[in-house]
């Protein structure tokens, strides 16, 4: 059988996750953890080779399909874009986690689950069947439950894991009910066949609503977001970066794929997405303003950024024109990089100021006072990340927000204009909690906590520097990412029309 190259991008991480786990048992204690980390890192580096080849193939031919019996995988621009973010952030998180987890039990499980989750998420982007979509989604969820509850001796971490599990499992039940409706209506689950066969009816609307709610739990649509701040703040920092940077976006990708199969009443979906987008931006900002724990603040700001993506994609579906969706997907990439960097940088400070000293308390904003004197690189990258998230030029976050806003104004619809103004105001509002972070880091006298802090390991600084450079480069030359965003935007729109 002829296996297309993109299948290896999915297969290598999933297969090697077992190897990662076994390799961890070669050495006892901390040495085992380092071996697992090494195998995981090499496996992800190898995965880049088929990824680059597959991306090139998709660029030339538009899409690739793999059919095995009744199961098929379909790789288009959107799959490639999502795979790029997942693989990029995943590789850096594996590199970063070494010192962070040193001394913890069960590191081989952590790396095995992380690598498996990366493979499964890339697979999720390529699903071409509603039920396959559910399977990938559930597999990703299972990996992430275990990773969120990684500190199994801490009650708060267990509570966060359980909350996440119950809410997410309820969401996936709703998706299954929707799949049941689809089977009873059309007898097929293949996305392309469904697009051709399904007729607009009341049932289709119910199915769409169930998809939005079911996948929306994972995407953290307000009011289904209550698991998110707990899970993001209690997970190990590398996992917080993955959760916020790619896992919630995986929910968004799954939702869009599922809705695209029911493309018929396209207008109603777009209005739903726009409404949730507006709600997410507002609630995310208001909740983030009240936080004094850094990781919870960043977690709430993820809600806001999902809102921007929904607005971009929603506008595109509303007017049937691709540039806003490209902006939304561009924001997906940028948010992955910026929020990933913010969580990793906050994680470094959590590590040096608390974990190294055997203190498992949260990192609060006052702890950061004067951190720039002692940790210049970490402070600079953290500031770049949060300013980028706040949308200051010339950083990446500004470019994608700008693209969404420009595309929105070009629609010449009053409703969309109002929404864009609302989004811009929210972007300004978000600076009200990002700017104090930068202020505390740079302009305060070093706190006692900072003075007692330990050194920063080099393997934790490398991912920070790489991500910070990426944010600046994308901000200055936004067109470096258009090879990912424009095929993805047109693939998304083609699926819906």
């Amino acid at each position: 059988m002829d296996i297309p190259i993109f299948a290896w991008v999915i297969a290598i991480p999933i297969i090697t996750s077992a190897l990662v786990y076994l390799a961890g048992h070669l050495g006892k204690g901390p040495r085992g953890g380092r071996i697992s980390q090494g195998v995981a890192f090499v496996a992800l580096l190898i995965t880049w080779v088929p990824f680059v080849l597959a991306a090139n193939e998709v660029r030339l031919s538009g899409s690739i399909e793999l059919v095995v019996g009744t199961v098929s995988l379909y790789c288009d621009g959107l799959s490639i874009l999502f795979a790029a973010v997942v693989l990029g952030l995943g590789t850096l998180v594996v590199l970063y986690s070494g010192p962070y987890l040193a001394g913890e039990n069960g590191q081989e499980k952590y790396y095995a689950m992380l690598v498996a989750m990366i493979g499964v998420m890339i697979g999720l982007g390529c699903a071409n069947d509603l039920f396959d979509l559910w399977i990938w989604f559930e597999a990703m969820a299972i990996c992430s439950y275990l990773l969120v509850a990684f500190y199994r001796e801490r009650p708060a971490s267990l509570e966060a894991g359980l909350k996440y599990l119950v809410q997410s499992a309820t969401g996936s039940v709703l998706v299954l009910i929707a799949i049941g409706f689809v089977v009873s209506q059309s007898g097929t689950l293949n996305l392309q066949e469904l697009r051709a066969t399904i007729q607009p009816s009341f049932t289709v609307l119910v199915v769409g609503a169930l998809f939005v709610i079911g996948f929306g739990v994972k995407t953290a649509l307000v009011p289904l977001h209550t698991w998110l701040p707990d899970a993001h703040s209690q997970a190990p920092s590398g996992i917080s970066a993955m959760l916020s940077g790619v896992v919630i976006e995986a929910g968004l990708v799954a939702m869009l794929r599922a809705l695209s199969a029911l493309a018929t009443p396209i207008h109603s979906w777009s209005i739903l997405l726009l409404l949730f987008g507006a709600l997410n931006m507002l609630v995310g900002n208001l909740m983030a303003l009240r936080q004094n724990q850094v990781k919870r603040l960043l977690a709430y700001s993820s809600l806001t950024h999902v809102g921007y993506m929904l607005i971009g994609i929603g506008i595109s579906l509303y007017v049937g024109e691709g540039s806003a969706a490209q902006g939304g997907l561009f924001h997906l990439i940028n948010h992955g990089l910026m929020k990933g960097l913010a969580f990793l940088a906050a994680g470094v400070l959590l590590y040096t100021l608390h974990i190294q000293l055997d203190d498992h308390g949260p990192l609060i904003i006052e702890d950061l006072a004067g951190a720039a004197r002692r940790y210049p690189v970490v402070a600079l990258t953290l500031s770049l990340a949060v300013l980028g998230l706040g949308g200051l030029p010339p950083l990446a976050g500004f470019m994608s927000k700008w693209q969404i806003c420009v595309a929105g104004f070009e629609t010449k619809e009053v409703l969309i204009w109002a929404l864009i103004v609302f989004a811009a105001l929210n972007s300004v509002l978000s600076l009200a909690y990002y700017a104090p972070l930068v202020n505390v880091v740079y302009r305060k006298q070093p706190s006692r906590v900072v003075q007692q802090g330990g050194p920063v390991p080099i393997s934790m600084s490398i991912p920070l520097v790489i991500l910070a450079l990426a944010i600046i480069v994308i901000g200055v030359w936004p067109s470096v990412m258009s090879w990912l965003t424009s095929p993805a935007g047109s693939a998304l729109l083609a699926a819906f029309s």
Partner: protein, 103 residues
């Protein structure tokens, strides 16, 4: 015959969904929460089978149902494992007493 069997199935699905959601919303015991989730999934399994029966796709939905059982068992196992850990570390299975994360 076919019509009546799907009606019976539909009543079963709604009943199970009702019981599952009621349990999920009212109980405070972690083990019971996991059981309520299981009841919900059983409702959807029945739903898949009834849906396949009405659209003559029984082979398709049976394979889906078996896969759902597998995936769902893993979720239940993780849920129970978390409950066991919580009982060990916190000494209670009551979610109200467990709840510390707010805001």
């Amino acid at each position: 015959m076919n019509l009546s069997s799907s009606y019976v199935g539909l009543i079963g699905i709604l009943g199970l969904l009702g019981v599952g959601f009621y349990g999920l919303l009212t109980t405070r015991n972690l083990i019971r929460i996991v059981i309520a989730l299981q009841i919900l999934v059983k409702a959807t399994l029945l739903g898949l089978i009834v849906a396949g029966n009405t659209s003559n796709q029984i082979n398709l939905v049976q394979s889906l149902a078996v896969t759902v059982i597998v995936a769902d068992t893993v979720v239940a196992v993780i849920g129970i494992a978390l409950a066991v850990q919580i009982r060990r570390r916190v000494g209670t299975l009551d979610v109200k007493e467990l709840s510390t994360l707010r805001g």
